[in-house]
Amino acid sequence: MTQFVFWTLSGVAILGALLCITGRNPVMSALSLVLTLFALAGIYVLFDAHFIAVMQIIVYAGAIMVLFLFVIMLLNVGRPDAGSDVKGKVGKFWAGFLGAALIAEMAAMWRLLPGESFRLPAGTLAGLTAQRGAVGLIAEPLFRAYLVPFEITSVLLLAAVVGAVVLAKRKL
């Protein structure tokens, strides 16, 4: 069952990604990416990352992609009369060739996977989730070991907000 769900979601994710990079219409691309993100959220659940899966849907698919769509529509980029922005034959060749080369190289790195001795026993994370709850699982390290990075993240977000406001103002 898990296998089936995983492969289905993987297929959906890859399909969405391919549609995203090939679609003529930017809106189409964005919606395909949302599809991929949803599929990935499902895969996260399979890997016992419930909280992150929810975050993926709320933050990524919800907030960030909506922002994308908003900008696309605001700027009216996807006009039907505009030509395709896909590059010509040379560009296609390089994109395909380099993408394939990257996959091949990563396949060649297969044996760099962590050995059995490094891995936790099966079901550990699921057990922890049951014990602390989906949020507690991630809150424990986030607010202890990674508290300072977490706080810095808030500063980063503040800076991003200020920066976005300044950049998008009408008069620079």
Binding site: T2, L37, M55, Y60, F68, L75, K87, G99, Y146, V166
Partner: protein, 98 residues
């Protein structure tokens, strides 16, 4: 158990993102391809977190925060550029060409 396949899927998604960046000229779509690559990396974090401990998920949390910040600023830049040049085609955004 599903670690290997998950990493393979991640690699494929990442490569698709790279190919997309190389393939497209529209700044917004290139941006989305970058997001795709970030998500591929997130998938490796999640898959390995199941095997190696929950810290991996924390990293995904941070990646999301950075992605959100990046999207906000990046899209603001895109709006500014569009306002100046009336296009998002990188072929015409070549101020670097002396």
């Amino acid at each position: 158990m599903l670690l290997g396949p998950a990493l393979a899927v991640s690699a494929i998604l990442f490569s698709i993102g790279v190919a997309g960046v190389l393939l497209r000229r529209n700044a917004i779509i290139i941006f989305m391809c970058v997001e795709l690559m970030l998500n591929a990396v997130n998938l490796t974090f999640i898959a390995l977190a199941q095997q190696l401990g929950p810290e991996g998920q924390v990293f995904v949390f941070f990646v999301m925060a950075v992605a959100a910040a990046e999207a906000a600023v990046g899209l603001a830049i895109i709006i500014a550029i569009y306002r100046h040049r009336q296009t998002l085609d990188l072929q015409y955004i070549n101020l670097l060409r002396g």
